[in-house]
Symmetry: C2
Subunit: 305 residues, 2 copies
Amino acid sequence: MLKNETVFNPLAIYKEIQNNYTKDAIENNRIISNENFRLFIEMIHSCINELKKYQKITLISKVQRKRYFAYTNGKQKSRPINFDLYVENEKEIITFIWSAVRFNNYKKYSPNDITKYCYTIVVNFCAIVDINKKDDRQTPGKFFEYFISFIMGKKFDVENPNSPISPKKDIEVLNLDRNSKLTIDFYFDLGINKPKFHLPVKTSTRERIIQVWAHQRIIDGVYGLGRFFGIPVILAETKLDSRSLEVIEICVPDQWRIYQMFIAQLKRIYYLDIPNIYRSLNENYPKIYVKQFGEFFYEYNNICD
Amino acid sequence: MLKNETVFNPLAIYKEIQNNYTKDAIENNRIISNENFRLFIEMIHSCINELKKYQKITLISKVQRKRYFAYTNGKQKSRPINFDLYVENEKEIITFIWSAVRFNNYKKYSPNDITKYCYTIVVNFCAIVDINKKDDRQTPGKFFEYFISFIMGKKFDVENPNSPISPKKDIEVLNLDRNSKLTIDFYFDLGINKPKFHLPVKTSTRERIIQVWAHQRIIDGVYGLGRFFGIPVILAETKLDSRSLEVIEICVPDQWRIYQMFIAQLKRIYYLDIPNIYRSLNENYPKIYVKQFGEFFYEYNNICD
C-alpha cells in the first residue's frame, strides 16, 4: 500500500513502479502482480489530479484529420495530445482498468476504445514529465515500457496459464566459443513449442526505427526464421514546433518498406496514435501491417499464423 | 573569395562551406573544388582565432591512458578534447593541409600525425559550436561530414584520375515495380569494376551505430556481397559530465560483435579518437578492424582485398 503522501505525486509513483517492476521482473519472474496493478491505478488518479493544475492550449495540426492540444503551465508545454483519442472521464478509464485489464477480458471494448484508454493513461504521465522535467525523454519512455509490458504481459500470461510469463530484456546470442547477450526492449517467451515475441516499445521512432528491424534480423539469424514474432508498440510520431504551435508527423514509409524487404520481417507494428501515412502500408504489397494498439487484443491468435 | 568581414566567423564560414558543398556535390558532381579547399583553410584560421577568446580547463579523465581538456567561456563548456591528439601549432596544421591534403601526398606524415591534424581541425570547430549553440549536435556533425568526405573524396579522386568522384547520399534500391532510395551518410562509387565505398560519418555513435550495420545489410542485399565496402568514420565516443567534469567513453563492444556476425560485415571502422576498448576488437576472432583514421591513407589499397 502507499504509505505516505509523497507517493501521490506521479513522479513518486513512477519511482515505486520502477522499483516494483525491477523486483518483480528480475526476482519473482513476473510483472503482473497485484501491487503493480494497484500502482498503475494510483498513477491514473494522480496524473488526472495533477493535470488539473495546467491549462490546455489548442495546437495547429498540420496532420490531416487529426486535432491536437497540449497542456501547459505557462512556461513549458507538453507533447501534442490527440483530441480524438483522449478520454476526459476518469471513471471510464478506471472502469476499463478494473474490468478489462484486470481480468484480461476486453470483449466490452472495441480496439479503438482500448487504444484510447491506453493512450490517455500513457500520455497523461508523459505530459506531466514534459512540463516538469525539461528534455527528459527517458522517464516517459520507461513508463510507456512498464505500462505496455504490463498490459501485454497480462494477456500473454492468461493465454499461457501453466507458467508465469515475464518480459525479458537480454537475449542470449549463442555462439561456439562465446556467449553474448543482445539487449533489446523486451521479449516474451511463451515456452516450448509456443510463440515468442520480440516487443520493442518506443514513444516515437523516426529514423531510429531501423534498430527494431536490425534486432529482428539478429534474432532471426540466431534462433531461426519464424521463431520470434516482432511486434513493436509505438506511442506516436508527432512533433511540436513550440514557437509556431504547429504539429506534424515525421514518417519514413519508403524507408520502412526497404527495411521490411532487406533487413527482416516484422509481424505487426502497433501504434497508440497511428500516423495516417503508415496506415496505407497495410494496403500495398509488400505489406507491412500497421495497426492500432487495441487490435492486438482481438487478433492475438492470428498474429502468429 | 571571401568578400566581407562576417565570413571570418567560423559559423559564417560553415554556411559558405555548406552552400558550396551542396552546389558542388549536386550541380557539379564534385566536392573537391579549389573553392572548398580555400574555405577549409579559412575555417582552420578562423577557429584558432576564435578559440583564443576561451579558456582551457583540464577534465577528469576516467579513460585509461587518455587526458582531456575542454574550452569554456565561463558558462558553456566544449566537448572533451584529447590532449595527445591536439595540435596547438597553427602553422603545422596549415602546412599539412597545403602539402599533404592538397596534393593527396601523405608520405611525410605518419597515420598518427594525419589523425592528429584532422582531429584538431574538426574538434576546434565542434568546440566553438558547443560553446555558442547549446545542444546543437547537427552543425558539428555536418561539418565533420563535409571535412571527411572532402579529404577522403580527394583520395578517391586521385586514385581514379579518369572520372571525377563525388560522394552521394541517396542509394537506389532496385525493385521490380518500385524504385526507392535509401538515404545514407555517403557513398563513393569509383566506377565500373572498381570498388564502391559505404561511408557513414558520425561524431559519436553509442548504440545508434546499429544503423550503420543495418544500412550495410540493405546495400549487400540489393547489390550483392562484396560490392560496397563499409568504412564508417567516427570522431569519438567520449561523454562529459558537465558537473563533475569527468570524461568517460561509452562503448558497446559485445553488441558490435553481434552486429558484425549477425547483421553485416563492415570492412573498417575508423576513429579520430579511437576508444581503447574498441582497439581490442582487432585482436580477437571474429575480428572487427577498428583503426585510427590516418591509417586509411596508408592501407587504401588493402581495404578492398
